[in-house]
């Protein structure tokens, strides 16, 4: 599964997949994107014109006493006599031009920097609108992917990757869609302007462009490989640290601290080495690209100097006027204006290469992110859901077959019924599929064959949320959140009142110990409820399931760590509570099993026997053997 997830590459096909996957989210904002692009180009054109005006006025008029054009004089509010059409400017006129120009340019620069600032904000705002939709969809899909997926990756890996990747999504659209489009448009504009100086410049720029692109493509697979390795190493390190602290008891008990530290150091070194290699290659590419672009600048420096020395005509002078440059012949101003355009081209190009390298690293995360986006939840709502039944009859599994992997069936033609108003016990050796059957009841998975129904209504025809609202479960492993006890109990139904909570803890025999804690119901639990004993956690877990008052209650080995007296009390309370409800109990304990209204014995993924304790005891079947084992005198 992970192999196919990681397969996304940022070649043309991969890019295509990204565009296709994000298109609906981008298209919703298409008007804004086009406006952004247009405004960017407009502003760039304006900035270029202001720059050219500056070179022309400062270098040629102030520096070399050349007269102004009528337009230039107009912009600086100078009268034409003495400034336009004269042989050379006087010293006083040159200083006046300088003074006026600096004021005008200060005003223009403040305006353009403000406009660029606003444009940057505009872009962020658009991207956030895209990403809000994208992220929420992604996370929803990730959660809906049922345990079939989650059980195979280790917890640390999953967490690291999902939050890494989801953070990346924010940058994805910007880096592989928006920035390249804007950068390429800007570069095209620079090449166009450079052509006006000399077509040779445009040729050299395109040549440099081809070389840089070829280089980037050659290096890309290396970057991708390192990036993948770096992420894997980091995820492993993350898992190691997490497990070490979660399993610290075992590590201490077996004196494993030393070995565990060695493993941590080794994995830390591996993670650092791959991170280093990735960055080294990344930086090398950057350095080579910027050197190539510097050589491009030097080549045009040489050509431009020759043009000035030869007093050559400027190729597109008539069009350059549009940018505020009134020259016909190569001068120092044209020379410098040319340098500024080549420089801007190089800057955009370096930025594009940087973004490309980022994208290689992100592509690793993207594979996962876009795979998630494309996922259809394994368990989905029906097109036309029916109302949840009233649970008057009960739950029925008919001929259910199911396996986590296709070649390893866990349940085979599993038939089982639990009636309303009864406590049904599900017994059998561990590993026979008891917990799996209950996962099907919650639709954590759907059966491969057969059906699970309540009052004859197939579970697949009701909404998943509806179903889970009506089925409460106390899990075998007590998952408690690191919040207060009250918050844990309220987890699924935040509106529960204190009185309802107390009612549930009374049934679960938990009120007493909770109140003995320093902060009572407000006591904050550690990770996994570190402050409580296992039996106490089990009782909280039972109370949490009860709080919801659901018509179907499943207790998966609920009382394994309770003492007999507490257990008896809990079950006595439960029987009163169970009137009008379906209660299914998975347990090994004889005293619990014996009191159930109905007992189903599981073996090899199917029910081999069912009935009441007395009925089953009269048969010489597997149940009787089970009881005999449990009660045999030892010694």
């Amino acid at each position: 599964m992970t192999a196919e997830v990681d397969a996304l590459r940022l070649d043309l096909k991969g890019l295509g997949r990204i565009y296709v996957a994000t298109w609906p989210y981008l298209f919703a904002q298409i008007g804004h994107f086009l406006a952004l692009l247009a405004l960017n180009l407009l502003l760039l054109g304006f900035g270029t014109a202001v720059g050219f005006l500056g070179f022309d006025v400062l270098m040629d008029s102030v520096g070399r006493a050349e007269p102004l054009s009528a337009m230039q004089a107009g912009v600086m509010l100078l009268p034409e006599p003495g400034y336009v059409g004269v042989e050379a400017l006087s010293e006083a006129a040159r200083l006046e031009v300088l003074f006026r120009f600096l004021i005008v340019s200060a005003v223009i620069i403040v305006t353009t920097t403000s406009a660029f600032t606003l444009l940057a904000m505009y872009k962020v705002w658009i991207l956030q609108r895209v990403n809000q939709g994208l992220r929420v969809t992604m996370v929803r899909n990730a959660e809906d992917l049922s345990l079939r997926f989650h059980s195979r990756t280790s917890a640390g890996d999953g967490i690291y990757r999902v939050f890494q990747d989801s953070a990346m999504v924010t940058a994805v659209v910007d880096h592989v869609v928006v920035q390249p489009v804007i950068a390429i448009a800007m570069m095209a504009l620079q090449i166009a302007v450079a052509t006006l100086f000399s077509p040779y410049f445009a040729f050299l720029m395109l040549l440099a462009g081809v070389v840089v692109v070829a280089l980037a493509l050659v290096v890309t697979p290396r970057l991708r490989t390192w990036s993948q390795a770096a992420r894997r190493a980091n995820a492993e390190l993350f898992t190691r640290v997490q497990e070490t602290f979660q399993g610290i008891q075992a590590i201490k008990a077996y004196g494993f601290e030393g070995a565990s530290l060695r493993r941590f150091r080794d994995e830390s070194t591996t993670a650092l080495d791959t991170a280093f290699a990735l960055r080294r290659d990344f930086a090398t590419l950057k350095v080579v690209v910027s050197y190539l672009l510097a050589l491009l600048l030097f080549a045009t420096d040489y050509l431009a100097t020759r043009y000035v020395l030869e007093e050559g005509a400027v190729f597109g002078a008539s069009l350059l006027v549009l940018f505020g440059m009134s020259v016909t012949q190569w001068t120092v101003a044209v020379h410098q204006a040319r340098a500024s355009r080549i420089g801007a081209f190089a800057l955009h190009f370096e930025e594009l290469v940087r973004v490309w390298c980022y994208a290689q690293d992100m592509a690793v995360g993207l594979g996962r992110a876009f795979w998630l986006l494309a996922q259809q939840p394994e368990v989905s709502d029906p097109a036309e859901p029916v109302d949840f039944p009233a649970v008057r009859e009960g739950v029925r599994f008919s001929g259910v077959g199911f396996g986590y992997a296709s070649d390893l069936p866990v349940l085979r033609s599993f038939d089982f019924a639990a009636r309303t108003g009864e406590v049904t016990a599900l017994v059998g050796e561990s590993g026979t599929g008891k917990s799996t059957a209950m996962a099907l009841l919650l639709r954590l998975f759907d059966p491969d064959d057969g059906s699970v129904a309540i009052d004859g209504v197939d579970l697949r025809s009701v909404r998943v949320a509806d179903l889970r609202e009506h089925v409460a479960i106390a899990l075998q492993e007590n998952v408690l959140f690191p919040t207060s006890i009250a918050d844990n109990l309220r987890y699924a139904t935040p509106s529960t009142t204190d009185a309802e909570i107390r009612e549930a803890t009374d049934v679960a025999c938990a009120t007493q110990f909770i109140e003995a804690l320093p902060d009572g119901f407000e006591t904050v639990l550690g990770v996994g409820g570190a402050l409580l004993s296992t039996g106490q956690k089990q009782r909280l877990s039972i109370a949490r399931a009860l709080v919801r008052g659901a018509p179907v209650l499943v207790l998966d080995e609920p009382t394994a760590s309770l003492d007999a007296e507490t257990e008896r009390q809990v079950f006595a309370n439960l029987r009163t509570w169970a009137v009008g409800r379906v209660v299914i109990v998975i347990t090994h304990r004889m005293s619990t099993i014996r009191t159930a209204d109905r007992i189903a014995v599981l073996a090899d993924g199917g029910v081999v026997e069912s009935g009441t304790h007395d009925e089953l005891m009269t048969r010489l079947g597997p149940y009787r053997d089970l009881v005999a084992t449990a009660e045999a005198p030892h010694g």
Binding site: G63, L102, V139, L147, Q164, S166, F256, L261, E557, M590
Partner: protein, 661 residues
């Protein structure tokens, strides 16, 4: 993050100025082991700034002596150039403008090959960063930048990254080791997520501090000093205004940057807190995906995430606003200096004192001075976050760890001897004052099975955990063959105890690796026999790769009962003279349990077994039963003895168990 992972041990989190200085001094201590790398970087830095100084002057050559065709007099006499350009000017004397251009471009190409156009943009190789701690600390761990590009810049960057990485590796290794040696009472109080956070995300800040307090200010001082020196030397005579502008740009920027940076930092902290709230949301959702789905919490989880995500976007928009505003202000302040510079240069040109070629030189020096001063003004502010993280790191490093050797070394125990374990008036209180045990006394020896029985919350696990010194009695004493446990080497004691936990603790690794935690030398045959005893052999053999099969996510593909059996097999594989089973059989079916107990009793002569159990079939075969209630021993004796008291607590316990309600 601090407010999310706040915990009960680390409560005093506010920092005073004095604390910060102390933290910084301690952080710098981690630089010493890397002194050679550090020295190499200092050397490269001098080289980079040295080679970088002439760069702008070649632009002047290109304009004045190329485009403007000004002839170069012998020795550059009468021209405004710093002393280090005289060699070039000498060699270029008498050349025609095109030849000067080619010559200058060739020299530039060589200089660029080594240092690039160093200055304005730093060479760095950071990866894309999101609003989450993971990507941020990823970049922090491998942080590095160089003032140069080109070959030297590349080398400098590689050294910089290695320097950060080595410091972080060192710090997190020490931290990891200290944290895993803390006593269980601290680790239980602390959230394991917090420990992880410190190792993975806080540790890199030490490297950040080391860099920010040494190399960065040094580089800034060198760069500002060199540029101001050149400015004064060349223009001091002709256009002293240029020098004044340079000095005031540095001074004003230094003063003005700090409040701006402080403002930006406040906003960015709010944004980060909200970003990590989103990732926490995610993390919680994923860690507990089973619970979330089974409790019908998916919808709620999704809403929470959408809200947190919206809030983090709103915050980050604000952050972008502030960052842009700060940049806008900076650009416009820069504009003031540049405009003043332009005025002075061009009036100089009109007068004939300066040339057009001075323009790029002066402007470049100004922007270097200005930007360096801005960075300098921010160093202290930027280190505030690092200081907070460093405090968290050092706090955990300094926290008490389990003593590895006894404070009063005494005679060693011979583990092959018959062992006699004795609890003598043992009491225990948790650090928060709750009493778990009170005046517990009993004894047990090799060959015996001791059962600890009692209602949940009675203190059974606390009692059992005292034997391998996970917990230390707060009153009374525990002895082994008469030697107080406090006098025994902890590691040696733990080697002699195999402890099977109530909640299995398996790592993401192969079955064999998990078993070998208990006994690294165990052969496959040993593992097979331990698994057979624990009823785990059948399912291990049924797994695709047998003992080499990987189990994920705390034992993902296995059922709870199977994980528990592996855990028991691991305890048995230890082959230790003392075996403690903390409710080992709760998740076992009666058949498997029976098989396990029968085989355990077959080899009982060699060991002392302590078992915590509820199930009668387990308890009644014990040689001695300790019945515990609310931290006190209520009754002790064997099954028959205790059953003979019709009103005893144990008798009531058995009756309930056998006959149900």
């Amino acid at each position: 993050m601090a407010e999310i992972y706040h915990d009960r041990l680390d409560v005093r989190t506010a920092l005073t100025g004095g604390d910060v200085v102390g933290l910084f001094r301690r952080a710098l201590g981690y630089l010493w082991p890397q002194r050679r790398l550090f020295a190499a970087r200092v050397g490269l830095m001098v080289l980079i700034y040295g080679l970088g100084l002439p760069l702008p002057w070649f632009l002047k050559v290109l304009i004045d002596h190329g485009v403007m065709q000004q002839a170069i007099p012998p020795g550059g006499e009468g021209l405004l150039y710093p002393v280090f350009m005289h060699g070039f000017l000498d060699s270029a004397t008498g050349m025609d403008p095109l030849t000067v251009t080619v010559y200058a471009l060739a020299v530039l190409a060589v200089l660029f090959l080594f240092v690039g156009y160093s200055g304005n943009t730093l060479l760095e190789a950071n990866l894309a960063e999101g609003a989450d701690v993971a990507t941020r600390s990823e970049n922090k761990i491998s942080a590095g930048s160089s003032a140069a590009h080109g070959l030297i810049g590349l080398l400098d960057l590689c050294l910089a990254i290695r320097l950060s990485q080595r410091i972080t590796h060192h710090v997190r290794g020490v931290l990891f080791s200290r944290l895993s040696r803390q006593p269980l009472t601290s680790l239980n109080l602390q959230r394991s997520g917090d420990a992880m956070f410190r190792v993975m995300h806080d540790a890199p800040s030490i490297a950040g501090i080391c860099h920010a307090l040494t190399l960065s200010p040094l580089a800034m001082v060198v760069s500002v000093g060199a540029n101001l020196w050149v400015l004064t030397a060349v223009y001091g005579g002709v256009a002293p205004e240029l020098v004044w502008i340079g000095f005031s740009a540095v001074g004003l920027t230094l003063v003005a940057t700090s409040p701006l940076a402080r403002w930006a930092r406040r906003v960015s902290q709010a944004s980060r807190a909200s970003g990590s709230a989103t990732t926490d949301e995610l993390e919680e959702g994923f860690r507990n995906v089973a619970a979330v789905q089974s409790l019908g919490g998916s919808e709620r989880q999704r809403e929470q995430f959408a809200t947190a995500s919206r809030e983090s976007f709103r915050q980050s928009l604000l952050l972008v606003w502030v960052a842009n505003a700060v940049e806008w202000i900076a650009e416009n302040v820069h504009l003031v200096f540049a405009t003043a510079g332009f005025w002075v240069i061009f009036t100089g040109i009109v007068r004939g004192d300066l040339t057009l070629g001075d323009t790029p030189v002066v402007l470049r020096m100004y922007s270097l001075l200005y930007e360096t001063a801005m960075q300098f003004g921010r160093i202290w502010i930027d280190q505030q976050d690092n200081a907070a993280a460093a405090r968290r790191v050092f706090f955990s490093m300094d926290h008490e760890v389990e003593p590895s050797a006894p404070s009063r070394p005494k005679a060693e125990l011979r583990w092959s001897d018959l062992l006699m374990l004795r609890f003598d008036g043992v009491g225990f209180r948790y650090p928060d004052g709750r009493r778990a045990l009170d005046a517990v006394s009993f004894e047990a020896s090799t060959g015996q099975t001791l059962a600890i029985v009692g209602p949940s919350g009675a203190g059974k696990t606390t009692l059992a955990q005292m034997t391998p010194k996970f917990l230390h009695p707060t009153e009374g004493r525990i002895t082994l063959n008469g030697v107080d446990l406090a006098d025994l080497d902890t590691a040696a004691l733990r080697r002699a105890v195999a402890y099977v936990f109530q909640e299995h603790q398996l790592l993401t690794d192969t079955v064999a690796a998990n078993l070998r935690i208990a006994n690294p030398e165990a052969a496959i045959a040993d593992m097979e026999s331990a698994c057979r005893l624990a009823g785990a052999l059948d399912f291990v053999h049924a797994m695709p790769d047998g003992f080499a099969s990987r189990i994920g996510r705390g034992g993902g593909a296995l059922s709870t009962g199977q994980k528990q059996r592996l855990s028991i097999a691991r305890g048995l594989l230890r082959g230790a003279p003392i075996l403690i089973l903390d409710e080992p059989t709760a998740a076992l079916d009666p058949e498997t349990e029976r098989a396990l107990l029968v085989s355990l009793s077959a080899s009982r002569e060699d060991r002392l077994t302590i078992v915590i159990a509820h199930r009668l079939s387990t308890i009644e075969r014990a040689d001695r039963i300790v019945y515990l209630d609310q931290g006190r021993v209520v009754e002790t004796g064997n099954h028959a003895e205790l059953m003979s008291n019709p009103n005893g607590a144990y008798r009531r316990f058995v009756d309930l168990q056998a006959y149900g309600s």
